[in-house]
Structures are given as C-alpha cells and as structure tokens.
C-alpha cells in the first residue's frame, strides 16, 4: 500500500474519481503507516474509527454520484489544537487532561464538510508555544529526516506532529496553526509546504487560543498545489469569529500556473543577519535566480524594524497568552488539583497543569501587563508592531511578494538550544515579522543542507493575496526539484 501513501492530494483525488482505489483503502493504507511509525510520536490520539466511518461515507457518496470535490475521501491529520467534537483535544497540555470538546472548530468542520477524513490528532508544542515540539506533555516528536550523528532531530514547532506526519507519508495533508512561525518553520525542517494565510482568512473559532491577534490556521502539505486545495476548503468567513474576513475565497488551485512575468520580488536586506549560515544565504540567492528565470524581477527592499520583531513578539504573544490561558482554572474542564481554598485549588491546578515553557510565558505576560509595567513593555511593543507592519506596507508599494529564508538553520537535535529560552526563540527570526503584520507567508522546500536535511524558502505577500504567494512558491517548487521525501530506512 506504499503507493497510496506516496500520492499527493491532487493525485489521490484523481485516483478516487477514477475509482482506481476507494477512500477506505486510502484511509487504511494511512492508518497502517501511522501504526508502523509510532516511534515518531507524531500523533497524540489516533482516530481509526472516525477515519473509516468518514471514508465509507465518502465512498457511498461517490457511488451515488454525489462526490463533494477534491478533498472528498482525502485522509488528513489535525493538529491537536483544533477542537473536534467527541474526540479528545489536549493542546499538548496536561491541564486539558480528559477534555472532550462538545463542538467542532470551524476549520475542521469546513474540512469535514468537504469530505476530508480525519486520521488522528497530531502532536504539538504545549499550547503551540515552542519551535521544536519538545514542550508537549505527550513527549517530543522526531523528525522523519533524522537521526543524524546518532541523535534524533526535532521536526520544528509548534506544528511538529503535523509536519512529521505529512513528511513521513502518514497523512496526505495536515492542519497547522501559526502564531510566530509554527506552520512555516516545521515545514522547512521537515521538507514540506506550510502556508500561514492572512490573519482573518481562516476562522479561529474552536482553535484553542494562544495569542489571539496572531493565531492563524493553515495547510501543511507535500506540494504547493495541495496547499492551494486544502486552503480553499479551510478558509471562509465565519460569523463566530469577529476577526474572520467577510471575503470570498478564490479558487487558488485554478490560478497557480503561468508565467511570473511582470511580478516584482522584494529582497529585504535586513534579513541577511549577522552570522547567517553560508548555505542559507546561498539557497536564498538560488531562490532569486529561480524566480528571475521564471520571468519575475528581483528588487532590493528595506524592512528597517526587522531586528525588533522578535522582542516585540515575545512581549505581545505572552501577554495575550496570559490572558487567554486564565480560563484553565480547574473548574469547567480538564485537570483539577484540590486545595483548601478556591485560590489554592487554582494555584495547584495551574502549577501542575502547565509545563515549564507555558509557565514562563504566562508569567512574562502577566508581568508586562501588570500595573506600572504596561506602558513600558506592552504598549511599547504594540507601537513597534505598528512600525513593523508599516515597513511591509511601504515595501509592498514597490514589490508584489517578498522572498526570504524560512529559518536560520536546518533541523537540530532534540535537547539542543535549550541553554536559555532566548536561544530557542531565535528560530523564528524570519517568520515572526510576517505574523506581527498579519500577512500571508509560505515555506516551500527548496534544497538540502550540507548534512542532507531540508531547507525552506519563505514567500510573503500582501494581505489576502495568498494567490500570488502560491504562484511564486510554485515556481520555486518547479525549479528546486526537491526530493519526494525523507530517505526510507
């Protein structure tokens, strides 16, 4: 059944339409692959019964002549940050122990409506806070491209289980969420495509909140075309999320091909950071050459406040997280650790329920929002965020899309970069500015490092112009000739 797990979504959709195989066979092939790859720890909860029920329903629809579209019968993984009705949802945290949502997130409901088949809930950093998938209460995820030098590698994070599942052929696609790089950085580390849409493109309803002004759901797939198909099914206006954009969703997949003639590509000089690995810079140069060869014009642009983006993010995101995570109080759902008084019950529950990274961020967030520090930290960060967003607006007067590396390195070993929290935060140096500005960004696999590990390039677009981002990403994908997947053992 290896052949079925190696298909793209577009190929599988054609195979289902031609009745070359059934949705049930496709689901079973993936469930078998998941069972054989449990060592990766990509899933927190496998849902074979749900998968086979939905696959059978897809087969019945098709037999009756009522197939729903390109995602009908396509098996996917769902990041365990999306609430799924009747299926345990953990956010990778002990504090949601035993939580079974009575409702479905809008994005997963939309995918279900399109016929997609859920295989299970993918592992992630606790509450999506991390860049290596090492903060999950359910243990770290291994990158399927590892090990190297006898050590297992991280898949990136926070959507590390989603990225590992798609890379290792355990799912044809996966949902991710991205707050500061959590779709794009693991996509780069695992050699897959990861798209963070414009803030407001996908509804946040039913996604467990981390930082509400930054969180955005998006697809993680093996090709740019598949990302376009999946995004079209996930996106759309939702009255239950007041920040969801009341805009029509374009047919992204239909408009991907064609020349880039006339397209202007911006290269921000501030992204050539001190100490950048030579192979990252060389890949970036290759990306420019590929886009030029496809007909685009490459131009230097300036994003002068880039160097302040990480510090800005690490004030704003923890501040919003400290507010969002106040709801975990041991009263309504999840873990409760008893105490003599109500306050002691809260403190015991939250003390034992949150892991160390979440605890750090809630404390930082509480501090920067507290009386006497609010203006100096939080308000200041909101102002610098405005300057970062203005930099992009200015650049997009001159160019249509911006090309940068996705991450400053290839995948590192589990246990590395843990000397202090700030070292880990530097992973997101190229992805955080896009998030702060609310813009669409994609990571597309573009080459291999000297150690033979995947490296991605990032394309950033104007608000709601995912189409141009996808078109430019397709050109890089075509030129890069990236290997079809990790070497099989």
């Amino acid at each position: 059944m290896t052949a079925l797990t190696g298909l793209t979504i577009a190929e599988a959709a054609r195979g289902l339409a031609a009745k070359s195989f059934s949705a049930r066979e496709l689901a079973e092939a993936h469930l078998d692959a998941i069972a054989a790859a449990r060592d990766l720890n990509a899933f927190i909860c496998e849902t074979p019964d749900v998968a086979l029920d939905r696959a059978d329903a897809a087969d019945a629809r098709r037999a009756a002549g009522g197939a729903l579209g390109p995602l009908d019968g396509i098996p996917i993984a769902v990041k365990d940050l999306f609430c799924t009705e009747g299926v345990p949802t953990t956010a990778g945290s002990h504090i949601l122990n035993g939580f079974v949502p009575p409702y479905e997130s809008t994005v997963t409901a939309n995918l279900r409506q399109a016929g997609a088949v859920m295989l299970g809930k993918a592992n992630l950093d606790e509450f999506a806070m991390g860049s290596a998938n090492i903060t999950s209460h359910y243990g770290p995820v291994k990158n399927p491209w590892g090990p190297r030098d006898g050590r297992d590698l991280v898949p990136g994070g926070s959507s590390g289980g989603s990225a590992a599942a798609v890379s290792a052929r355990l799912a044809l696609g996966a949902t991710g969420t991205d707050t500061g790089g959590s779709i794009r950085q693991p996509a780069s580390f695992c050699g897959i495509v990861g798209l963070k849409p414009t803030y407001g493109r996908c509804s946040r309803y039913g996604i467990i909140a981390f930082a509400s002004s930054l969180d955005q759901a998006g697809p993680m797939t093996r090709t740019v075309g598949d990302a376009a198909l999946m995004l079209a099914a996930m996106a759309g206006h939702d009255a239950r999320d007041s920040t969801s954009a009341p805009l029509a969703v374009p047919d992204f997949a239909a408009a991907l091909d064609g020349s880039l003639r006339g397209l202007k590509i911006g290269i921000p000089k501030e992204y050539r950071i001190d100490g950048m690995a030579a192979e990252i810079g060389a890949l970036w140069d290759k990306g420019m050459a590929w886009l030029e060869a496809a007909g685009a014009e490459v131009k230097a642009v300036s994003l002068p406040h880039t160097r302040y983006a990480l510090a800005t993010y690490y004030i704003i995101a923890p501040a919003e997280a400290s507010s969002n995570l106040a709801r975990y109080d041991g009263v309504r759902y999840g873990l409760r650790v008893d105490g003599a008084t109500l306050d002691e019950m809260y403190m015991n529950t939250r003390g034992q329920g949150f892991g160390t990274e979440v605890r750090r961020r809630v404390l930082i967030g509480t501090y920067v929002l507290s009386a006497g520090y609010y203006d100096a930290y939080y308000l200041k960060a909101q102002k610098v965020r405005a300057l970062i967003a203005a930099d992009f607006r200015e650049a997009f007067r001159e160019v249509d899309v911006i090309l940068t590396p996705t991450a400053p390195s290839d995948a590192f070993a589990i246990g590395e970069r843990m000397d202090d929290p700030v070292t880990m935060y530097l992973n997101d140096v190229f992805t955080v500015p896009t998030s702060l500005a609310g813009l669409p960004g994609i990571s597309v696999p573009a080459g291999l490092s000297a150690r033979g590990l995947p490296l991605g390039l990032q394309l950033i677009g104007r608000p709601f112009d995912e189409l141009t981002v996808l078109k430019a990403a397709r050109a890089i994908e075509d030129a890069a000739g990236f290997p079809a997947g990790p070497p099989t053992p």
């Binding site: 035993g98 939580f99 079974v100 009575p102 803030y199 407001g200 509400s212 002004s213 930054l214 955005q216 007041s242 920040t243 954009a245 009341p246 406040h305 302040y308 510090a311 690490y314 004030i315 400290s322 109080d329 009263v331 309504r332 759902y333 999840g334 873990l335 409760r336 008893d338 003599a340 008084t341 109500l342 002691e344 019950m345 809260y346 015991n348 939250r350 003390g351 034992q352 949150f354 605890r359 750090r360 404390l363 930082i364 509480t366 501090y367 507290s370 308000l379 200041k380 960060a381 909101q382 102002k383 610098v384 965020r385 405005a386 300057l387 967003a389 202090d420 929290p421 700030v422 609310g438």
Partner: protein
C-alpha cells in the same frame, strides 16, 4: 534589572500558578534574561506612533443582539471535574 524572588512570587500569585521552591532560582534567572532581552525596544523612537492593537485593521462587524444559542447545560457540564446539582462545584468560598 533582574527579578528578585519576591517579585517572581508576586507575579506567580497574580497568575495563580504555584511555583515549587526548588524552581524559583532557575525561573527568576530565565525571566530576567527574557526581560533584559526585550529591553532593546527602548531604543526605538515610537513618539508619534499609534499602537497596533489587532491583527486586522478591519472594523469588526456587529451582529444582532439576540439569543442564538443555549439549552445545553449537560453538554457544558460534561467536562467539569466536579458537578453538584447541575452546577460547577468549587471549594467553599464563603464561610
């Protein structure tokens, strides 16, 4: 300015998170490192800049002020650690 243990205790009390004594030294150091690092924002001139308070500049839409949902007490209580007579139960608050 590094955070002392008393300040960390105050923040932890505000955040309602119990910190074991053996974690205090390491945590105070980590929080101090992060705060020292974000201090770099002070060098940015933001004198005439309005804060960006949302991920979108769209004016949020209003809906009609009507009841759209309800009547699902049991579903809401189903995940509660302790329920008494159809209510969430907590340790005694009033003596």
């Amino acid at each position: 300015m590094p955070l002392d243990h008393a300040t960390v205790r105050t923040i932890a009390q505000l955040a309602r998170i119990r910190i074991p004594d053996e974690d205090m030294e390491g945590l105070a150091g980590e929080l101090s490192t992060i705060l020292a690092w974000v201090e770099q924002l002070r060098e940015v001139d933001t004198e005439a800049v309005a804060p960006m308070t949302s991920g979108t500049d769209r004016v949020l839409s209003l809906r009609d002020d009507v009841v759209t949902d309800g009547g699902m007490r049991d579903a809401i209580l189903a995940n509660a650690p302790e329920v008494v007579d159809g209510f969430f139960a907590v340790p005694k608050v009033v003596e």
